[in-house]
Amino acid sequence: MNKILILFVHPRFEKSKTNRTLLKNIEQREGITLNDLYEHYPDFNIDVNRERELLLANQIIIWQHPFYMYSAPALLKQWIDLVLEYGWAHGRGGDFLKNKIIFNALTSGGTRESYCADGYNRFTIPEFLLPFRQTACLCKMIYLPPFAVQGTHLLTDDALHGHAAIYRLLLERLAKGEFDIEAINNYVYLNDWLVQDAGLVKP
């Protein structure tokens, strides 16, 4: 069993139907730790030691956040700056996160189609996520493609529940180790890998 740590970063969780649906009852699953950063550090005063202990105790780390202005909410940047420090996460002696798996699980208002060279947002999601990818690489971690629930404003309840089911499945497979990193890396989104691999209907 791989243990999973969800670093959840949302300044207005109570207003986010999508994220509430994605995370519903998630804590009750064995081997999953939900670390609600805005709840723990409303004053941005991150307890670095606590965070490091959590990272060490888990093999798979998920940055789950809404996609604000093509990036994550401010507290996740604060977390990255403070926790992933030179000498611990990277640089000399910074091997503590080596070979752990990490990826972004994001929600965005814009649809997937709007994130392309011809689209309204002009760049793809993986392009916008480059800083996260390189941070993971710097820390010698394995960075997977993102899991994304997009066009959230237009989602029907059924579609939303479909996405939530895929997310559950993803967590389950990751926990059980039922995945092949090389195969996964052929996909742009983790969603696509799961739909294809498990033969699901796209929500």
Binding site: D43, N45, V48, D81, G87, R92
Partner: protein, 628 residues
């Protein structure tokens, strides 16, 4: 001799230690406990103390002297001046009104006019000791009733001197040689010289206080011998009292003056904490002596006379007090408290009656009777206040409206705030601004009235009373905020809640680290020390003014608060290793010292290297030299 003393001390202390906790547990307050203790060990019941009770009374009156010194200390001249209208207004109305009414009554029952006037004046006194002690225990000193009571009592205490001066004029025969102990300088002088002596003595106290005592205390303080400072404090009080006795004035008044003079000095708090324990014990002793001096034989032999007298005097005093309260526009509840709190005859009456007797104005039998009546009326006060609190106010007071308003199926708020001073009201306002309604408990009826008008749901009364907690919805609420100003009352409340309403989430305001420790000992998790946030925020502002970047200063503040919390918890665990009996204030200092040492050992901000690139410039340089 010494064994007799030890024996007496043993009886008094044992009685106090036995009865006062029982009285406290029964919710009667310590004064009643002492009085009962006195009655039980007195000549009528157990007879442990007999006639020497009277001597003890003289000794214990020194407790009253100490109390007046402390009252003076708390009363800075500026404060005193601000209250002058209240003091003179309410005081003179109460004193003159009561004295005149009693004068008329005594005339009517056949006293001579001299005796009637003397008795009227003596009986107009109320008991500072009982009234203030009771008000303080109930946390009511800050209310309107508390202030008015204080003003009246102060006026009475001051007017003892002119009364003592007037009484000789009432003497039947041309001044009989008074008993030798009263053969003072004062009494032998002609009238004009007495006045001059009086003014001179008061002036002397003020001048010495200003120009001799303060430098003297500074000198003593520099020696850093705590017990010497205590000795010096006692010396000041006893010296002043002695000087006053020498010129024939009331020692209580003299020490009161000395207290007022020293109130402005930097030693005010130190003097207070030094004298406080002596005052407490002696005042307790005084109450015991009062209880013991009650002549039950007299009551049994002339029950009707005694009962009628007590009843009449209390009624007349209450009547005048009630009218005075109306005049200064006290609300109904406050007025009731004021009226019943001061309706007894005070300790100065003992002094006045024995003087009256010496002047042959009143017969020995009547003097005894009056002293008995005085003691009984003092004993009745705490039960009267208890009855007022438990039975009268709930039906007629501020609370009544609430009972009517509150339906059986009342919606209960999830939060209860006990204590609505600045601290509690800020919480209440904040919660209300965020749409959370709270039920409020407060014992200041004026404030309760105001809050009701502002639309708050307020219960009036002592928050530590179970029935009030229940009617405020303690059984249905989720959170109780204990925000009462007095740490002791707050602690009582928390303890009760833990026992009786264990489901309630208790969040507590603490004044000092020591309060916090006591709360931790009974398992409270959410403790908010009222000073910590404000002082750290102020500290952050200082750093900023000194040129720190604001965010760095803010982070330093955040880290410090976190660290302080941990340090407090660690010290709490080791607290019981310390010697168990240390003076309260000294324990504070020791704690402060420990906290400061801990700061030095693990400076909370040294390890903040977030975003600090300087820190690894060297390491990078190192990397270049030895590429991996």
């Amino acid at each position: 001799m010494i064994s007799a003393f030890l024996h007496d001390a043993l009886i008094y202390l044992a009685a106090a230690v036995f009865f006062v906790p029982i009285a406290k547990k029964l919710g009667m307050g310590s004064v009643l406990g002492y009085l009962f203790a006195g009655m039980i060990i007195g000549p009528f019941f157990l007879g442990f103390i007999g006639e020497e009770g009277k001597d003890i009374m003289h000794f214990a009156e020194f407790g009253v002297v100490l109390m007046l010194f402390l009252i003076g200390l708390e009363l800075e001249p500026a404060n005193f001046w601000r209250m002058r209208n209240l003091i003179i207004g309410t005081g003179s109305i109460q004193l003159c009104g009561t004295a005149l009414l009693l004068f008329a009554v005594f005339l009517a029952v056949g006293f001579g006019w001299r005796a009637a006037l003397a008795c009227g004046l003596a009986l107009a006194m109320s008991s500072t000791a009982i009234a203030l002690q009771t008000l303080r225990e109930k946390g009511l000193t800050g209310t309107e009733a508390g202030r008015s009571s204080f003003a009246v009592l102060l006026f009475q205490d001051i007017s003892v001197i002119p009364i003592l001066a007037i009484l000789p004029l009432l003497a039947v025969a041309a001044i009989q040689a008074p008993a030798s102990e009263h053969n003072t300088l004062f009494a032998e002088m002609p009238g004009w010289a007495q006045t001059i002596t009086l003014i001179a003595a008061v002036g002397l106290v003020i001048v010495i206080g200003r120009f001799v005592l303060v430098p003297f205390l500074r000198f003593i303080a520099r020696l850093h011998l705590r017990e010497l400072f205590t000795a010096a404090a006692l010396l000041i009080v006893i010296g002043t009292a002695d000087l006053m006795m020498l010129v024939g004035l009331s020692p209580a008044l003299g020490t009161f003056l000395a207290g007022v003079v020293l109130a402005n000095s930097e030693f005010r708090h130190e003097l207070e904490s030094d004298i406080e324990p002596f005052k407490g014990i002696l005042l307790g002793l005084f109450f015991i002596a009062v209880g013991a001096s009650i002549n039950f034989n007299l009551i049994i032999s002339k029950p009707l006379t005694v009962i009628a007298l007590v009843f009449c005097i209390i009624c007349i005093k209450a009547l005048v007090l009630g009218l005075t309260g109306r005049l200064v526009r006290l609300s109904f509840d406050q007025n009731l408290l004021f009226t019943l709190g001061l309706a007894q005859v005070g300790e100065f009456a003992f002094v006045l009656f024995s003087f009256i007797h010496q002047l042959n104005i009143l017969s020995a039998e009547w003097t005894d009777m009056m002293m008995g009546v005085t003691a009984i009326s003092m004993t009745i006060t705490p039960p009267l206040l208890l009855i007022n609190e438990k039975f009268i106010l709930p039906h007629f007071g501020v609370k009544e409206k609430e009972v009517k308003e509150a339906d059986q199926i009342d919606t209960h708020h999830p939060v209860i705030i006990a204590g609505f001073g600045y601290f509690g009201s800020t919480i209440g306002r904040f919660l209300r601004a965020n749409g959370i309604q709270a039920t409020i408990l407060d014992n200041d009826s004026d404030r309760v009235d105001l809050l009701r008008k502002m639309g708050f749901k307020v219960f009036y009364g002592d928050a530590t009373r179970v029935d009030i907690l229940k009617s405020a919805g303690a059984e249905e609420a989720k959170i109780l905020i204990a925000a009462i100003g007095s740490p002791d009352i707050n602690y009582d409340l928390v303890k009760k809640i833990k026992n009786l309403f264990p489901h309630l989430d208790v969040i507590v305001r603490a004044k000092s680290p020591l309060d916090a420790y006591e709360l931790m000992d009974i398992g409270v998790q959410d403790i908010y020390r009222e000073y910590i946030d404000a002082s750290v925020r102020l500290g952050v502002a200082v750093l900023t003014k000194l040129g720190f970047r604001k965010y760095s200063a803010l982070r330093a503040g955040q880290k410090f608060i976190k660290y302080d919390q941990v340090a407090l918890q660690q010290l709490a665990r080791h607290r019981h290793d310390l010697s168990t009996y240390i003076f309260n204030t000294r324990e504070q200092i020791q704690l402060q010292e420990k906290l400061l040492t801990k700061d030095l050992e693990s400076s909370p901000n040294v390890h903040d290297h977030a975003w600090d690139s300087d820190l690894f410039v060297d390491k990078f340089a190192d990397d270049k030299r030895n590429p991996q």
